[in-house]
Symmetry: C3
Subunit: 309 residues, 3 copies
C-alpha cells in the first residue's frame, strides 16, 4: 500500500484513505523514537532540504529529526543565509535546488500558495511546513493522530477550535482533516478574527467561546499573534484572554473528560492559562512527540514506500 502523491501541500486535497494511511504509518513509526537506537535505515541516501523563509524552532527541528531518524541526509536553508538577499526568485531557487537532486523540499513561507508554486517548479517531493494563513498539513496530521490515540477514533468527535480563525493555517488544515474523517468542528473567536463564510469549510461558527466548547470532546486553542495587536484585531492581551483564553473557570463549563490541544508555542496566560496548559487534560507534548512520527510517515510515504511494494 502506498501513496501516488508527489507532494503534501495541504489536507484539503487528501482523500480519507490517504489521511488514514498517513496516520497508521505514523503510528508504526512512533516506536522508533522510543527505541534505544532511534534510527531506521529506510531513507538512507535520500536528501531532504528544509527551506525555511520564516523562523521556526520546533517545526524545522521536528522535520530535521524525522529525516535523520529515517537515515536521510537533511540540509537546512534559512532565509538569513539564502540567496533571497540577492533577489533570486522562488522559481530560480526551486530549480536550482532541484538540480542538486534532492528527494524532498520541506518549505515554510509567509505567503499562502508558495509550496504549491514550488511543487510546479520541481519534480521532487514538496512538503508544506506552513504557508501564510493557508495550510499546515503536518500539524493537522499530528493533531489527528493525537486525538485518535486518546479517543480511539475521529469519527463523531466534536472539536472546538478557538482563537484567530481567520489567520490560522492550523485551523484551516484541521477543519479539513477532522471533517473529512467524520468529526464535527465548531470554531469561535473575536468577530475580527472570524472569516466570513467559514461555514463553507464544513464547520459551525459559534457565537462565543462558551458555546463552542460546551459539548466539545476536544478543544484546540490557537496561538494568538501578539505582534498583530497593533493591527487592532483585538483590544489587549488581557481582554482577549478574558473572552477567548482557556482557564480553569472556562474549562469547568466543558465536558469532564475533554482533551486540550495547542500547536505551540504557547502564550501562557493569554490564550491558555499555565495550569490548563500543564494540566491533566492537555496533550500539548503528545502533539510534539507525534509530530516527529507524522513527519517520518510523510517522508516514508512520499520518498520511500515505492521501493517496498
Amino acid at each position: 500500500m502506498k501513496t501516488k502523491r508527489k507532494d503534501l501541500l495541504g489536507i484539503e486535497n487528501l482523500t480519507v484513505d490517504e489521511i488514514e494511511l498517513l496516520l497508521s504509518t505514523a503510528e508504526s513509526f512512533k516506536e522508533v523514537s522510543a527505541r534505544e537506537i532511534k534510527k531506521v535505515p529506510t531513507l538512507r541516501g535520500k536528501t531532504v532540504i528544509n527551506l525555511f523563509y520564516e523562523p521556526s524552532t520546533r517545526t524545522r527541528t521536528s522535520f530535521e529529526i524525522a529525516a535523520k531518524r529515517m537515515s536521510a541526509d537533511a540540509v537546512n536553508i534559512s532565509i538569513a543565509s539564502s540567496s533571497a538577499v540577492k533577489g533570486e526568485t522562488l522559481k530560480d531557487t526551486a530549480r536550482n535546488l532541484e538540480a542538486m537532486k534532492p528527494d524532498a523540499i520541506v518549505i515554510r513561507h509567509s505567503s499562502a500558495g508558495t509550496p504549491e508554486m514550488l511543487s510546479r517548479y520541481v519534480g521532487c517531493s514538496v512538503i508544506n511546513a506552513g504557508d501564510g494563513a493557508h495550510e499546515h498539513p503536518s500539524q493537522a496530521l499530528l493533531d489527528l493522530l493525537t486525538v485518535k490515540e486518546r479517543l480511539g477514533r475521529i469519527e463523531g468527535v466534536r472539536l472546538a477550535i478557538v482563537g484567530d480563525i481567520a489567520h490560522s493555517r492550523v485551523a484551516r488544515s484541521n477543519i479539513y482533516g477532522f471533517t473529512k474523517l467524520g468529526a464535527s468542528v465548531t470554531v469561535a473567536g473575536p468577530p475580527t478574527m472570524m472569516p466570513p463564510g467559514i461555514e463553507r469549510l464544513g464547520c459551525r461558527a459559534a457565537a462565543n467561546m462558551t458555546d463552542a466548547i460546551k459539548d466539545a470532546d476536544v478543544i484546540m486553542m490557537l496561538r494568538i499573534q501578539l505582534e498583530r495587536q497593533d493591527e487592532a484585531f483585538f483590544p489587549s492581551a488581557r481582554e482577549y484572554s478574558r473572552l477567548y483564553g482557556l482557564d480553569a473557570d472556562k474549562l469547568r463549563t466543558a465536558k469532564k473528560d475533554v482533551i486540550i490541544l495547542h500547536p505551540g508555542p504557547v502564550n501562557r496566560g493569554v490564550e491558555i492559562s499555565p495550569d490548563v496548559a500543564d494540566g491533566p487534560y492537555s496533550l500539548i507534548l503528545d502533539q510534539v512527540t507525534n509530530g516527529v512520527a507524522v513527519r517520518m510517515a510523510i517522508f516514508y510515504l512520499l520518498l520511500g514506500a515505492s521501493r517496498e511494494t
Copy 2:
C-alpha cells in the same frame, strides 16, 4: 591515479592533467546522484567544515550535499554565528578549527587571497569556494564539465564571457581553465568593468558584446551585482541590459547551436532575459547538477584517493 595537492585554491596553478583528472572523476560521480540511494561510503569518518564569511545558498548547499553523499560529516559555520563577532583573526580561527582535526575546510570570503592564507595556517585541505574577485575554482570546473559533456571537448571551443569581468572570480577561474584546456576565450563588458591588461590572462577583449558572441560556441553571462550600481560602474540596469544583456535579439547574432551558461543566481531581465535563461540553449541547471559532482570529485581527490592507490 591521484593528486598530490593538499588544497584547491584556484585554477591558475592547476596542471592540465589535474584539471582533466578532476573532470573525469566528477563524471564518474554524477551517477551517484542519479541513483535511488544517492550515497557512497568513500569518505565515511571524514570531517568537512564549510566556513562561509559571505552568504550563499547554492554553493554552501552544493558542498554540503556533496560531502554528505560521500558519507563525510559536514559542519557549517557562517559569519553570523562565528567568533568573528569577538574579533578573532583568521589565523586563530584557522588554527582552532584545525585543532579539531577536520579533513577539509571549504571557505568563502569577500577578500581575495583568504583561502591561500588559510592554507598556510592549516595542514588539512583547504577548498576555495570563492574569494573576492580572485577565483572560484569549483565553479570553473563545473562549467568545464558542462561544456565537455555537451560538446565532447574543450580544446578548440570558443568561449565568450560577458559582463563585469573586472570584479568576477567566475570569469578569472574560467579564463584560466578554458585556456589551459585549449579553448579560446573572449571577454566583453562595459569599459568600467573591463580590467586593463586582461589579455595577459590569455584571452581576447572584444569591443562590444556582439563582437564577443558572434563566433562563440559557448556564451557565459556573468551575474551583475545590482548592489554595486551606486558605485557608478554602470548607469542603470536597463542601460546595462540593453548593451550587455543576452536576449532573443542578441542570441540571433550568435551561432545556431551556441550554448549558454550562467553561474547564478540569475537577475532575470538584466544580464539575461527569462526566455533565454529558460530556453533550449541554456545549460544553467546542468551546471548546478554538475556542481555537486565536481565537489564530490574535489573531496574525493583531496581526501580520499590516497587510500585507494
Copy 3:
C-alpha cells in the same frame, strides 16, 4: 564502570572519581580523531540538540564534531532561528524539545543557572556549554586533560588564573576542577574583576600578576571582554595589557617550564602577546584538540556507557 549522572551541569558537584573517569575516557577517545576514519558507531541512533542562546564558533563546532564522530545525530538550534523571537519560555522550549525524544541537550546561555533549570524540566541529559558567569564544565575538563597529559598529574600542580575572575565561568569551573584533584590555584586580576570571597572556592587571591605566576606550573590567561570596557571594569586595553597581559617580559618571571593555557578566542596583544600565544609554552591548540575528546567522553558517559556494562 559508568556514571549514574543524567546531566553535566558543572564541576562543582562532580566527585573526584567522576572527574577522573571523564578524563580517562577522553584520553581513550583522543585516538579516534587521529584515525584515518574518525568515527565510532557507539552513539548511532542517539539525537543531540545543540541549543545555543549565545553565539559561539568553537564550542558549538566542538560539540557537533564530537557528536558526529560518535555517530550521533546532531541538530543545531541558535537563538536567531529559535522561537525565542516568539516569546517562548525556557520551560516550554525545554518540554517541547524533550517531546521530540532527544538523548541530550547541549545548552549555552548568558544567564547562570539556565542549564540547571533546563535539567529539571527534561528527562534527557543536559550538558552545560557555558552559563553566564557560572560554569563551563567541558572547558575545565579539557584544561585538566591538557595539563594531565603534559605534566603527568594534577595533584600538587600550581595553577595561576589571571584576568576577569569575577565574570569568568572558565575560572570558576577550573577552580573547582583543579582544587578537587589536588592542585593549588591562585587567581589574580584587576580589583574590579576580583570577586570578594573568592578564597571560599578553595583558591588563593594574589595581590598582583607577578605574585600569582611566579611559582606557577600552569598559567591560565582568561579572555578579556573588550565590549565590557564601557562598564569601566578597566581603564583601557593598553592599561589592562600592561598590568595583566602575559608577554615575554612577564613570562621571564615565571618558572622555566611553565605551560600556558587560554580558553580562546584570544585577544592578541591584550591579555596575551602573540609571541607568547604562539610560543613553545602555549598549549592553546592542544586544549582545542582535547575539547573534542572531552565532549566525546561526556556524550559517551551520559548517553552510551550504560549499554555496555
